[in-house]
C-alpha cells in the first residue's frame, strides 16, 4: 500500500489520509465502535488555555482557571512540564485537539490514540454510558457559561464567585456514587427556565405584607414528631453535599441553587474519568500501538515513522520503580497497557499458568473481542482485580508495603511470588476503589427547628484522619452554602466513637 506520508510535514490532506487508514484498521479490523470524530488543530498557547479549564473548550469564567493557567504556563515556559500531544473530550462528536507542533508521525499516533482508543472507551464503557450524556455536554456547557455570565451581570461578580468558590471546594463531595436516573443534559436548561417562570408567576407581594400571627405553643411531643417527619424527608445520611445544599439549604436563592447544580453536573460528568484512568489510558495506548503496528505491516507508514511513534510510546509507558527519584505513583498508561497487552497474549498464546489464572478466556483466540468486553464492563478497580495476572505482577516486580501505626518503616508484606500474586492484585484493586481516594463525608444530622446547625460525619477507617486546616476552610465554604453553622465530626469507623469535631474557620 502507498505511504500515507513521508518526513515530518503534514497538511490537512495528510491528516485526512491518516484518519481514513486508522479507521480502516480500527473499525474494520479490530471492531471498535466510536462516536463521530472531530479533529481540531490548535497551537500550544491554546493547549495551555484548554488545560486550565478541565480541557473543556467552553467553560464559565472563574479565577481558579486563571490560577491554573498561570501555574501551567510558568511550568511550561521553564521547561519543567511538557504539553500533552492531545486532549480528547467525551462528547459526540468526539472532539480531539491535536497540536500544530506535532510531526506527521505523532499526529498518526495521536489520532489512533484519541480518535479511536479513547473514543471507543467513552462510547462503550458502562460508567460513561450510565453517567454522562455525550450528545448533550456541549449544549449544556454553553448554557452553563451563559447562565453564570447572566448571573454575574444581574447579581455581581462577587456574589457569583462566592457561590462558585464554595461549590468548587465541595465538588469532590458533589457526586452521586450510585446510579440514579440518567442525566438528560438537554432538559437542564428547560428545567431551570421553568423553575424561574414558576417563581415569577407565583410571586405574590400581597401575601408578604400579612402580619405574622403568633403561633400557639406546640407541645414538645408533637414538635419532636414534626422534626422526625421533616428529617425523614431529608433522607439522611446524604453523602452528596452539593445535592443536599441545592435541595435543602434554607438560605439560598434560586439562581444560587442553579449554580450549585451546574457545578454538580460537571462533577458528575467527570466522575467516571477518575475511576477509569488505567482502563481508559490503557485502552487508548493499546489501540494506538496496535493500529500503528498494523499500518506499518500494511506498508502505510515508514520504518522511521514507526520508530518515532515507538519512541513516544515507550516514553509514555515508562514506570519508574518506587525508589526512583522520578517516581510519583502508578503511571496509568504503563499499568493499563501492560494489562491489555497481557490479555491479548493470554488469548493467543497462553501457557499453563495463564490457563490456571484466566480459564474463561485463555486461548480463546479472540483478543479484540475479549478486550472490547473488558473496556465495556470494567472500571479500574475491577480491571485490576480480575485481569492483573502474574506475568504483569512479575514484570513490574510489584511489592506490597504495609504502613502500620507506630512503625518507623514500611514492612514488605508481599512480593511478586506465588503466595503474593492474589493478595497483591487484590490490594492494588483496593487502591483504585474510589472510596479509597476521596474521604467519605456525609450529612449526618440537622437541627431543623433550632439553630439549624448541620452536622457532618467522617468515618475514620484504619486510623485515617482529615487534615484539620483544609477541613476548617472547606467547612467555611459549606457554611456559605448552608447559611448556618456547620460542624464535622470525625468518628471511629468501628465503634462510632467521636474523635474530633471540626468547625468552620
Amino acid at each position: 500500500m502507498a505511504l500515507l506520508f513521508e518526513g515530518m510535514e503534514w497538511d490537512f490532506q495528510t491528516i485526512d489520509a491518516i484518519y481514513q487508514a486508522c479507521e480502516d484498521v480500527a473499525v474494520g479490523e479490530f471492531g471498535l465502535s466510536c462516536y463521530p470524530n472531530q479533529i481540531e488543530v490548535i497551537t500550544s498557547e491554546q493547549m495551555l488555555d484548554a488545560y486550565s479549564s478541565f480541557g473543556l473548550p467552553l467553560m464559565y469564567s472563574h479565577w481558579s482557571f486563571g490560577k491554573h493557567f498561570a501555574r501551567d504556563e510558568a511550568l511550561y515556559r521553564k521547561g519543567r512540564q511538557g504539553l500533552a500531544y492531545e486532549i480528547v473530550i467525551n462528547s459526540s462528536p468526539c472532539i480531539a485537539y491535536i497540536m500544530e507542533e506535532n510531526t506527521a508521525a505523532l499526529q498518526a499516533l495521536v489520532i489512533a490514540h484519541a480518535c479511536f482508543g479513547h473514543n471507543h472507551f467513552f462510547r462503550n464503557n458502562h460508567l460513561f454510558r450510565q453517567w454522562t450524556d455525550a450528545e448533550g455536554i456541549f449544549d449544556y456547557l454553553a448554557y452553563a457559561k451563559r447562565y453564570i455570565a447572566e448571573c454575574e451581570e444581574r447579581y455581581g461578580v462577587n456574589a457569583v464567585e462566592r457561590i462558585l468558590d464554595a461549590a468548587h471546594a465541595l465538588q469532590p463531595q458533589g457526586v452521586h456514587r450510585y446510579p440514579r436516573r440518567k442525566w438528560r443534559l438537554a432538559d437542564e436548561e428547560r428545567r431551570a427556565r421553568e423553575r424561574h417562570e414558576h417563581e415569577e408567576a407565583s410571586y405574590d407581594p400581597l401575601m408578604r405584607t400579612l402580619p405574622e400571627l403568633p403561633s400557639p405553643p406546640v407541645p414538645s411531643s408533637e414538635r419532636d414528631r414534626a422534626e422526625q417527619e421533616a428529617k425523614r424527608r431529608l433522607r439522611l445520611p446524604e453523602e452528596n453535599l452539593l445535592y443536599f445544599c441545592e435541595k435543602n439549604s434554607p438560605r439560598l436563592r434560586q439562581w444560587e441553587r442553579e449554580i450549585i447544580r451546574i457545578v454538580r453536573v460537571l462533577a458528575q460528568y467527570f466522575y467516571p474519568q477518575g475511576q477509569t484512568k488505567v482502563s481508559n489510558e490503557g485502552c487508548a495506548t493499546f489501540c494506538h500501538y496496535e493500529i500503528l503496528t498494523r499500518l506499518h505491516e500494511k506498508g502505510q507508514i515508514t520504518n522511521g515513522a514507526l520508530l518515532e511513534c515507538l519512541h513516544s510510546h515507550s516514553n509514555v509507558i515508562t514506570q519508574p520503580d518506587f525508589t526512583d527519584r522520578r517516581f510519583s505513583g502508578w503511571n496509568p498508561y504503563a499499568l493499563g497497557y501492560a494489562i491489555m497487552a497481557d490479555i491479548k497474549r493470554v488469548c493467543l498464546e497462553p501457557d499453563a499458568e495463564d490457563r490456571d489464572w484466566f480459564p474463561s478466556f485463555a486461548g480463546n483466540g479472540d483478543p479484540w473481542g475479549t478486550l472490547r468486553d473488558v473496556w465495556a464492563n470494567y472500571r479500574d478497580e475491577g480491571l485490576v482485580r480480575q485481569f492483573l495476572g502474574p506475568k504483569v505482577i512479575r514484570g513490574f516486580k510489584m511489592v506490597h508495603l504495609a504502613d502500620r501505626a507506630g512503625e518507623t518503616a514500611y514492612r514488605v508484606d508481599d512480593i511478586h511470588d506465588e503466595i503474593g500474586y492474589r493478595r497483591i492484585a487484590s490490594r492494588l484493586a483496593d487502591q483504585y476503589d474510589p472510596s479509597h481516594a476521596t474521604p467519605l463525608i456525609e450529612v449526618a444530622d440537622v437541627d431543623l427547628f433550632g439553630s439549624r446547625k448541620l452536622v457532618l460525619k467522617h468515618e475514620n477507617r484504619h486510623g485515617a484522619r482529615l487534615d484539620a486546616k483544609s477541613a476548617q476552610k472547606t467547612l467555611r465554604h459549606l457554611r456559605t452554602l448552608w447559611g448556618y453553622d456547620v460542624c464535622l465530626q470525625e468518628r471511629e469507623a468501628e465503634n462510632g466513637k467521636l474523635i474530633l469535631e471540626h468547625v468552620a474557620a
Binding site: A70, D165, V412, T438
Partner: protein, 433 residues
C-alpha cells in the same frame, strides 16, 4: 470526520480568568511588585517578572486526608526486595500514596506557587499605585478641545446623517394613523373587481370600483414618506479635557555630571514617560540640556554628548518657557517638567531661578519634579555634602501652599529610581485639590 483548524481563533481565551485571578491575588501581587522595585533597576524593566504568590485568598481547599493511619501500598518494585524487609518511609508531606487511584490529593500540599507577570501587568501594578498630582485642575474651561458626541435626533441635517429606522418608524405611525391603504388592500379590491366582472354582479362591481378609487385617492394624498417623518441623528460638540501632555526633560550636562548621574537621570525620565503615557493619549517629550547656555536637543544628544562649562540653571528654564510658549499652549497641553541635576548652580543665578520659578513656571505646570542625582563611582564629593545650591533655591520655594506642584527628591542609586518615582507620585501624597 471533520477537521477544524482552530489556530486562527482568538488567542488568550483564559485571559479574563487570569485577570480575575490577579485581581484576587491583588495584595500579594502588589507586595511582590513592591519587593521587586526595591531589588532592581529600570534597566531590567523589559524582563518579565516572576511573582511568587502565597495561596492566601487564592487557595482552593477541599477535604483531604493526612497521611496518618494504616495504609497499604502496592508499588512497582526493584526486584531486590524480599518479604519481611523494611523500607524507610519518605519524609512526611511528600505523600507516597499520592499516585494511587484518582488524583484526590492533587492541589493538596501547595503553599505558594510562582508564575510570571508580563511586563504590562508589572507596570500596571506598579503605576497603579501612583497618581498624577493636581489632575483635577485640568478644568474644562481651560480647554478648547472638543469631540462630537451623539445627542439625540433632529429634524434638520445632512442627508448622510439620515436615521432611516427612526424616519421609517414615524412614517409608519403616520400612515397607520391616517389609514393610508396599503398595497395588500388595493390588491384585494382589484381582485374583488375582477370577481365582480366574472360574476357580472353590477352592484358589487360598482361598490368595489368606488372603494378602489377611494383607496387610490387616499394613497396618493397621503405620501409614503412625508418631510415631517424625516429624522437625522444629531451630534453635538462637547468639550473634553486636554488629553495631551508635554514632558520637559531638563538636565545639567556640565562636567560635574558623571556618566552614573546621567544614567540615573535617564532612568528617571524613562519611567516618568512610561507613567505619563498611561495617563494621557499623547505625550510629547522635549529634551533640554544646559551648561552655561541651554538648547533643545534630540534624545541621543541629550544623553550621550558631554559638554564642559559652568552651570546656569535659569538658561534651561528660559529655553523651556520659550518652547512652551511657541508650541505647547497651556490650554491644550498638560505640562510636566522633570529636572535632573547634581545641584550645582552659579550663585549669581539664584535670584533669577527663584523669580522664574515663582512667577512663570510653577503657575503653568502641572508638576515640577526635581531629582538631584548623587554619588556613585567617580563621585568627587565624598561623604555628606551640605545642601547644594539648586536644592537650597528650590527648597525655599517648595513647601509653601502656593507651590504644591514642586517636588524634589535625592537619587543616589539605580535601585532607588522606582522608589523615588513612587514617592513623588504617591497616591496619599497627592495634593487634595
Amino acid at each position: 470526520m471533520v477537521i477544524v483548524d482552530r489556530r486562527a481563533n482568538p488567542q488568550g481565551k483564559s485571559l479574563p480568568n487570569r485577570q480575575r485571578f490577579l485581581e484576587r491575588a491583588r495584595e500579594q501581587v502588589r507586595r511582590a511588585v513592591r519587593d521587586t522595585i526595591a531589588r532592581r533597576g529600570v534597566a531590567d524593566l523589559d524582563l518579565d517578572e516572576e511573582v511568587k504568590v502565597q495561596i492566601d485568598g487564592t487557595e482552593e481547599p477541599a477535604f483531604r486526608q493526612t497521611g496518618e493511619g494504616e495504609h497499604d501500598y502496592v508499588l512497582p518494585g526493584t526486584g531486590t526486595i524480599n518479604r519481611g524487609d523494611r523500607v524507610g518511609k519518605p519524609p512526611s508531606g511528600s505523600g507516597k500514596g499520592a499516585g494511587t487511584g484518582s488524583g484526590g490529593g492533587s492541589g493538596g500540599g501547595e503553599d505558594a506557587f510562582q508564575f510570571v507577570l508580563t511586563r504590562e501587568e508589572f507596570l500596571h501594578y506598579f503605576l497603579d499605585e501612583l497618581e498624577l498630582p493636581r489632575l483635577l485642575r485640568t478644568s474644562l474651561a481651560q480647554t478648547n478641545q472638543s469631540k462630537p458626541r451623539r445627542a439625540g435626533f433632529s429634524v434638520h441635517g445632512q442627508p448622510s446623517s439620515l436615521d432611516v429606522r427612526r424616519t421609517m418608524r414615524n412614517s409608519m405611525a403616520r400612515r397607520l394613523a391616517l389609514k393610508r391603504p396599503n398595497q395588500a388592500t388595493i390588491e384585494t379590491l382589484k381582485a374583488e373587481i375582477e370577481d365582480a366582472i366574472a360574476l357580472a354582479d353590477d352592484v358589487r362591481l360598482g361598490n368595489a370600483r368606488q372603494a378602489l378609487e377611494e383607496a387610490l385617492r387616499r394613497s396618493a394624498r397621503i405620501p409614503y414618506v412625508d418631510p415631517v417623518d424625516v429624522r437625522y441623528t444629531r451630534h453635538e460638540r462637547q468639550p473634553v479635557p486636554a488629553t495631551e501632555a508635554v514632558m520637559f526633560c531638563l538636565m545639567d550636562v556640565s562636567g560635574s555630571m558623571t556618566e552614573h548621574m546621567k544614567d540615573l537621570a535617564k532612568r528617571f525620565f524613562m519611567l516618568l514617560h512610561l507613567f505619563l503615557e498611561r495617563k494621557y493619549e499623547r505625550v510629547h517629550v522635549v529634551f533640554i540640556r544646559h551648561t552655561e547656555t541651554a538648547a533643545e536637543v534630540d534624545e541621543e544628544t541629550f544623553f550621550r554628548s558631554r559638554e564642559t562649562g559652568g552651570t546656569v540653571v535659569s538658561s534651561a528654564l528660559d529655553v523651556m518657557l520659550k518652547v512652551q510658549e511657541e508650541r505647547f499652549p497651556t490650554d491644550r497641553f498638560n505640562i510636566y517638567v522633570a529636572q535632573a541635576s547634581d545641584g550645582d548652580n552659579i550663585s549669581s543665578d539664584r535670584a533669577t531661578v527663584d523669580r522664574l520659578m515663582r512667577t512663570r513656571i510653577l503657575p503653568i505646570v502641572r508638576y515640577f519634579a526635581y531629582v538631584e542625582t548623587q554619588g556613585g563611582f567617580g563621585d568627587y564629593h565624598p561623604g555628606h555634602r551640605g545642601e547644594t545650591a539648586l536644592w537650597g533655591t528650590y527648597n525655599a520655594i517648595a513647601g509653601s501652599s502656593t507651590t504644591p506642584n514642586l517636588a524634589m527628591r535625592r537619587l543616589a542609586d539605580a535601585r532607588d529610581v522606582f522608589g523615588v518615582l513612587a514617592e513623588l507620585f504617591a497616591k496619599s501624597a497627592a495634593s487634595p485639590f
